[in-house]
Amino acid sequence: MRALPGLLAARAPTPRLLLLLQCLLATARPSSADGSALDLPFTSLPLREEMMANNFSSESHNISLTEHSSMPVEKNITLERPSNVNLTCQFTTSGDLNAVNVTWKKDSEQLENNYLVSATGSTLYTQYRFTIINSKQMGSYSCFFREEKEQRGTFNFKVPELHGKNKPLISYVGDSTVLTCKCQNCFPLNWTWYSTNGSIKVPVGVQMNKYVINETYANETKLKITQLLEEDGGSYWCHALFQLGESEEHIELVVLSYLVPLKPFLAIVAEVVLLVATILLCEKYTQKKKKHSGGNFLFCFLYRKSDDSNGIENNVPRHRKNESLGQ
């Protein structure tokens, strides 16, 4: 049941009627001044039976807006299981509360009933209660406050997202690999693996011994692929099924042949062999040059030494000194 907006839509009600309504509202105002716990001032509102009879958990979320809010306010909520949901929007303005038009929308569809509006001081409260049972009720719920400008608050309901792995998995032909999908704090009902054939997602069947799916814990799944071929490379998807929807993760598998790293390896080996050969050959060449050349006085000394029969070391300093002086 709509309160003020309905009356406003009835086109310029008489000021007396408005005043009466405001008095009714004022008397029915909740005792708590902050307005965070919004008691229903409208006790005649019929509650949905599901809300009373089920044993789902309850979720409450709140968005605050003012007339000066420049951007729409959004709140992201992750939901795994069916719940009773209680959404509240509060709007603070200095202007006339009666002139504010309050609406709720799910995605872009206007919601007709089951939301409540009340006012305290200069703040307008609106509350929407509903139950989320399946994926149809998931989505974005928005509350709108229209004065001259429209202020909007959005609650986005999503199923838990899976951990994204950015880097591709690299494996080799003939090897085996394990693709893992993990959900941090959630427990999906079911996991499914898909591989892409072109652009079509094909479910991964457990064929022969090639694919083995291992689910030891409820929040993770492992797909083991053995005897990899190059065609096995590509995109793989793991789907997590919740009561309220599906979530998926993309894993890229790259299968290389052994030749791929072998090429840089062989290039390095060739470089090493070349360098070692060069160094050893240079050394041999330098040694040969030393043995045969007689230009340098030091080499000369060696030449002389081999001629010298006694080679007494004591003479050496004097010999060399003479040699150097002689040069």
């Binding site: 998995l169 394990v178 893992t180 080996v269």
Partner: protein, 465 residues
């Protein structure tokens, strides 16, 4: 007889201090980089290995532990091989092993096979490369040895900065198998570095035969050198705490509430400062006035490191941790640059090949206990402060051992003020004359206590011409 040793030709045992030594230095730089940065580079693949083999993080951490155990623990084995076959053949074989291990690992079907290939075989290969490269560096440099050590040690942070992103890139492009294969190829470059290690041809001393034959395969007589024993004990205690802060600083930052990227930046700061601290420390240690006291400089750098740890434990915010990383980086670089330089100065060229193997073996135990014990302490108390205090205490203790030990124990020897010369003297006195030829002792004495660095000529029977 002694005068001839002083004025040997360029193909003699006298260190070139340049020339081909720069190529040797480059090779040492690359190999140091691979040896220290490789365990870290492999760790970027751990997540994929966990996924592939369905194992936990502690199982993959075993790979790093086995690598470190092989790098440090096979020290004496490497010493024996070098003394028997010479540096270059050992390094070429080591490079092949290291590469083969990674190539084999790329075909593994179980984590145990990865332990054996990446852990044992590659670890052994890297060890067979690392030790001989230091030995060759010691042979090629004498006057400029501290600088050479500092520059070679700078390979570690440079490669750390390069190999980890490269490992990540390889993993993204080729997966872990392809990544291991290509890393194996890169390790083959250690063979290139091995080829650079041209042996220094010793001029044959007439009447004494080839010097090599009288050298023992593993010279345990280093243990009679007090300086060496002190160094080995101090180094082992230091290694208990030295590697803890880099392992835990990022988690510490995250614990304080720092976002992930900012926390990772701390290690970048540390590494960057380390790159420049090492050559700088080498330069300082090479200055004429400082060189005789390099042991004290080393113990000061350990003290600085421990002090930085203790100060860092009080850090309460990101700024404090950045300051800690800067000072830790400086001290870490100093320690890294000086650790082998000081060992070379203490034991001398002749015994270095055996000494380094023994020191690395003693450090192996500490390196395997250190970071995991820090982890245990953290698990027990959940307070990062205590881990840093523990690390600081361990490093400070080692610094005090070295400082006080050298100050008191070595000085007690008759009259000589400089520690290295005193150790040389003592060593000469203890060594039985019939142990090796006279020439060898001269060679050793010359190389161990260069008179020019002490500023005076030591008059002993051997050096008086």
């Amino acid at each position: 007889m002694g005068g001839a040793v002083v004025d040997e030709g360029p193909t003699g045992v006298k260190a070139p201090d340049g020339g081909w030594g720069w190529a040797v230095l480059f090779g040492c730089f690359v190999i140091t980089g691979f040896s220290y940065a490789f365990p870290k580079a492999v760790s970027v693949f751990f997540k994929e290995l966990m996924r592939e083999f369905g194992i936990g993080y502690s199982d993959t951490a075993w790979i790093s532990s086995i690598l470190l155990a092989m790098l440090y623990g096979t020290g004496p084995l490497c010493s024996v091989c070098v003394n028997r076959f010479g540096c270059r053949p050992v390094m070429l074989v080591g490079g092949l092993f290291a590469s083969l291990g990674m190539v084999a690992a790329s075909f593994c079907r179980s984590i145990i096979q990865v332990y054996l290939t990446t852990g044992v075989i590659t670890g052994l290969g890297l060890a067979l490369n690392f030790q001989p490269s230091l030995i060759m560096l010691n042979r090629y440099f004498s006057k400029r040895r501290p600088m050479a050590n500092g520059l070679a040690a700078a390979g570690s942070p440079v490669f750390l900065c390069a190999l980890s992103p490269l490992g990540q890139l390889l993993q993204d492009r080729y997966g872990w198998r392809g990544g291991f294969l290509i890393l194996g190829g890169l390790l083959l470059n250690c063979c290139v570095c091995g080829a650079l290690m041209r042996p220094l041809v010793a001029v044959a001393q007439p009447g004494s035969g080839p010097p090599r034959s009288s050298r023992r395969l593993l010279d345990l007589s280093v243990f009679r050198d007090r300086g060496f024993v002190l160094y080995a004990v101090a180094a082992s205690v230091m290694v208990l705490g030295l590697f803890i802060p880099p392992v835990f600083v990022v988690s510490y930052a995250k614990d304080l509430g720092v976002p992930d990227t900012k926390a990772a930046f701390l290690l970048t700061v540390l590494g960057f400062i380390d790159i420049f601290a090492r050559p700088a420390a080498g330069f300082v240690a090479g200055l004429g006035k400082v060189r005789p006291y390099s042991v004290y400089l080393f113990s000061f750098s350990m003290f600085f490191n421990g002090f930085a740890d203790l100060a860092g434990s009080t850090a309460g915010d990101y700024g404090g941790l950045v300051v800690f990383c800067i000072f830790f980086g400086i001290s870490y670089g100093m320690v890294g640059a000086l650790q082998f330089e000081v060992l070379m100065a203490i034991v001398g060229t002749h015994k270095f090949s055996s000494a380094i193997g023994l020191v690395l073996l003693m450090e192996a135990v500490a390196v395997l206990i250190g970071p995991p014990s820090g982890g245990r302490l953290l698990d027990a108390t959940h307070v990062y402060k205590y881990v840093f205090i523990l690390a600081g205490a361990e490093v400070l203790t080692s610094s005090l051992i070295l400082l006080l030990g050298n100050f008191f124990c070595i000085r007690k020897k008759p009259k000589e003020p400089q520690p290295e010369v005193a150790a040389a003297e003592e060593e000469k006195l203890h060594k039985p004359p019939a142990d090796s030829g006279v020439d060898l002792r001269e060679v050793e004495h010359f190389l161990k206590a260069e008179p020019e660095k002490n500023g005076e000529v030591i008059h002993t029977p051997e050096t008086s011409v």
